[in-house]
């Protein structure tokens, strides 16, 4: 997954470099410019070609509701609501706000079903049902789950929760301690609670489930804890496990059988999930499913990514390490693998492939193609045939230097020798950093413009791998990776991307990595939030920032939009800095822990000036 440990030596090096460049630069500029790693490829810029682009699956429920994490199975985060436009968005005002009562990183997003909004907090994963039809937005219910406190210290990258899914009158979500719960949407009563992860082996759950044909699909976190990654389906009515597929190990466990038809030759063969590892190292090899899920009803395929292999130290796991750092397509009824694409074979940079897979139909080289668009941690934006797993196009969407491009005959990245990490070596200036060109912050797609709206990071790292022993319940990492700003003097950028050509159309540079997700609307306005707490509305075509509001804490959540009982369009966003970037990298942004007063991180040493912990929902309207 993702995390950074900063040694004194690394800090000293960064400070020394900064001093050479002139010590009294502005606070925001100097940390981004320290030493600019050489970059071999960056995002090219072009113009959009959009004819006929469409989202593969319709919005879930009425257009004015938000029933599943991304609004639809396609993970588009697009809404047909169009009352808020570039012409009137300047009049957007806070309508109401709600404190969740919980600090830490508020990734994810609320749901809106009928006149009720559902909010799930970071650990302890309290959920609220908020009555939108009454003035003052009183609660209908509040649910406080039984959730082991041990989970706090077993989660690598803050105690986040990426949201719930609604189906059949129930709210489904995951608890950090490895349980999945179903809550009656009307009463708030727990319908069932099923243990899915083993906390003693470092399995926590942070991801948002989706519900497909009466089954709740979930996976676990723990790529830094030596877990053996899996994805599973539970019966939505009873909570009973229907199927579970591991992502590493023998074919039987991985559910590789007659249906498996990977596009590339190197992915065909028996038990590759075990034989591409030395000995039995696959048993603690990571490949967790902590990111977003998509579903194509026409193909009946679930799409998910898998995390980094464990440990980070590549020397302990020679081989391709299948199916870590991969995009996998599975039969929704049985979990059987239908195709697999390992985007980063033998990952040695912590490039998880768990980012969202957005299902759209796009005109490519004059032909409409059913594709999946994926912005990977490794810095490549992939346009993939979602029926077969063939890469149609893969271009860098952020500055990168670890690879010169994708070999289209094999689908494998061409790796730059000098950027390969190795045990007991300090490999310098690798871009992107282990946080990736993009991390969990989900992109959005608008069929109106044919563009993807992508929150990105611009960071680089040094990578120091070392030998590590597997001890159950402790991290299985074996590496430090101090980070710094990437080339260009900015650390994040919100970009518009044309996935038919692999070109960036426009970008808004940010001082900090953009760790919050995007929302596209039919009104032609795109929304996103920043780590320093600005919630912004942008013209979908031009990229012009039309409006911004400073919310109570840094934004790592994802905006949603809905129609209120009064018929007006509302936009909702969580404030609440945290997650890997907010909690670990930024260092000390907390104020309520007198027993833990950390030094600020070197990656974002100035973030604490602009924001501190909070947990609050903000709702805006005209």
């Amino acid at each position: 997954m993702k995390r950074v440990l900063l040694g004194h030596a690394a800090i000293a090096t960064l400070m020394a470099v900064a001093a050479c460049n002139g010590g009294d630069k502005g606070a925001t500029a100097d940390s981004a410019s320290g030493s600019e790693p050489q970059v071999t490829s960056g995002a090219a810029t072009g113009t959009a070609s959009t004819s006929g682009a469409r989202i593969a699956v319709a919005h879930a429920g009425p257009p004015g509701e938000w029933q599943m994490p991304a609004g639809d199975y396609a993970s588009s985060r697009y809404s047909e609501l169009a009352s808020i436009t570039p012409q009137n968005v300047a009049n957007l005002r806070v309508s109401w706000a709600f404190s969740t009562g919980v600090l830490r990183g508020h990734e994810g997003q609320p749901l809106v079903v009928g006149n009720t909004m559902y909010v799930v907090t970071p650990y302890p994963n309290v959920s609220y049902a908020i009555d939108l039809a009454q003035t003052g937005q009183p609660l209908k219910w509040k649910f406080r789950p039984d959730n082991s406190q041990q989970a706090i210290g077993r989660a690598c990258c803050d105690v986040v929760n990426r949201g719930a899914a609604y189906a059949d009158g129930k709210i489904f979500y995951n608890l950090l301690d490895g349980h999945t719960v179903a809550i009656d949407a009307v009463t708030g009563n727990q319908v069932w609670r099923t243990k899915m992860g083993d906390l003693s082996r470092g399995e926590t759950i942070t991801m948002a489930p989706i519900v497909v044909k009466g089954k709740v699909i979930v996976g676990s976190s723990g790529g830094e804890m030596g877990v053996r990654g899996w994805i599973a389906a539970l019966d939505a009515a009873t909570g009973k496990e229907v199927w579970r597929a591991y992502n590493i190990g023998p074919d039987k466990d991985v559910k590789v059988g007659p249906k498996f038809k990977p596009f590339y030759a190197q992915d065909r063969g028996k038990d590759l999930g075990a034989t591409s590892w030395p000995g039995s190292t696959w048993k603690t090899g990571g490949g967790a499913v902590w990111g977003w899920l998509s579903y194509d009803p026409a193909l009946n395929l679930i799409y998910h990514g898998t995390s980094n292999p464990g440990p980070w130290n590549e020397n302990q796991r020679t081989g391709d390490n299948k199916w870590t750092a991969s995009i996998l397509a599975r039969d929704a009824d049985t979990g059987e693998m239908v195709w697999a694409l390992q985007v980063t074979p033998h990952d040695m940079w912590d490039y998880d492939a768990v980012n969202e897979n957005i299902l759209v139909d796009l005109p490519i080289k004059g032909q409409m193609r059913k594709v999946l668009v994926h912005f990977d941690r490794n810095g490549f934006a992939y346009t993939i045939d979602r029926a077969t797993g063939e890469i149609l196009l893969a271009e860098p969407f952020v500055p990168m230097n670890w690879s010169t491009g994708i070999d289209m005959a094999t689908g494998r990245p061409n790796v730059v020798e000098t950027k390969k990490t190795a045990q007991d070596k300090n490999v310098k200036d690798i871009c992107p950093s282990l946080e990736g060109g993009k991390n969990q912050q989900p992109a959005a797609f608008s069929p109106q413009t044919g563009l993807f709206y992508v929150p990105t990071n611009n960071l680089c790292m040094d990578f120091q791998a070392r030998a590590v022993t597997y001890i159950a319940g402790t991290p299985f990492i074996g590496g430090n990776a101090p980070e710094k700003g990437g080339p260009g003097g900015y650390r994040g950028e919100f970009i518009a991307w044309d996935a038919t050509t692999g070109k960036k159309i426009w970008g808004i540079k940010e001082q900090y990595p953009v760790w919050g997700g995007a929302l596209a609307t039919a009104g032609g306005v795109v929304f996103y939030g920043t780590l320093d707490g600005w919630f912004k509305a942008v013209d979908a075509r031009s990229g012009k920032v039309l409006w911004q509001f400073k919310v109570g804490s840094g934004v790592v959540g994802n905006p949603v939009t809905y129609t209120g009982p009064d018929g007006k369009q509302y936009v909702a966003i969580y404030a609440g800095i945290g997650g890997d970037m907010g909690l670990l990298i930024a260092g000390d942004v907390a104020a309520n822990l007198p027993y833990d007063v950390r030094e600020r991180g070197t990656t974002l040493p100035d973030i604490a000036r602009w924001t501190s912990w909070g947990g609050e929902l903000f709702v805006f309207s005209l």
């Binding site: 440990l5 009294d24 406190q149 690598c156 022993t469 991290p475 430090n480 007063v597 030094e599 000036r609």
Partner: protein, 189 residues
């Protein structure tokens, strides 16, 4: 060494429960602490004395109704100092640094204990107490929010060595952050 800990813990617990008596405790503390009025004439069966004092740590406590205590409860307790045989021992601290990496402490608590998934050790602030005994207990029995219990998995001797190392990291005063200067810097006082 370890056998002394339960008693130490008991004293700690007692002082916590007593401190809820607030100001009365302060009045008691006004007594001459060097010549304690101590009644340790507990008889077999029950404690019958009406007013007793004992020392817990460095403060004076009053037991109002010793007759409610179980028979044989020692009314005078000399605190047993918990001493780490390796405290400040440079060789042991260097070994502790190696154990810190070897047992994966580093990947939770950060390089040099700078803080990551788990709390920082550099700030001189302690979630569960920072005395050698406190730190030993945190490592030995684990802590409720995810710290694993190492007692029985590694030797008590190694736990003391780790304790010496962890305590040696607490060096930085991070009380004040001043953001107004041109450069970002943190100042102590």
């Amino acid at each position: 060494m370890l056998r002394r800990l339960p008693q130490h813990l008991l004293i700690l617990l007692l002082s916590i429960s007593c401190s809820s008596q607030g100001s009365r405790e302060t009045a008691g503390a006004a007594a001459d602490t060097t010549s304690l009025k101590t009644d340790s004439t507990s008889t077999a069966g029950a404690n019958t004395a009406t007013s007793n004092y004992f020392v817990a740590g460095d403060s004076l406590r009053i037991i109002e109704h010793p007759e409610n205590l179980p028979a044989g409860f020692p009314l005078q307790i000399k605190p047993l100092p918990v001493k780490n045989p390796y405290e400040g021992d440079k060789g042991a601290i260097a070994n502790g640094a190696k154990l810190f990496v070897g047992y994966n402490c580093l990947d939770c608590h950060g390089a040099d204990g700078s803080g990551a998934m788990g709390p920082s050790f550099q700030d001189g602030r302690w979630h569960f107490g920072g005395s050698p005994g406190d730190v030993f207990e945190s490592i030995y029995q684990g802590r409720p929010d995810g710290m694993p219990a190492w007692g029985g998995r590694i030797s008590n001797d190694q736990i003391w060595i780790l304790t010496a190392y962890v305590r040696s990291l607490a060096s930085k005063d991070l009380s004040t952050e001043n953001f107004t200067g041109k450069t970002v810097e943190r100042t102590g006082h």
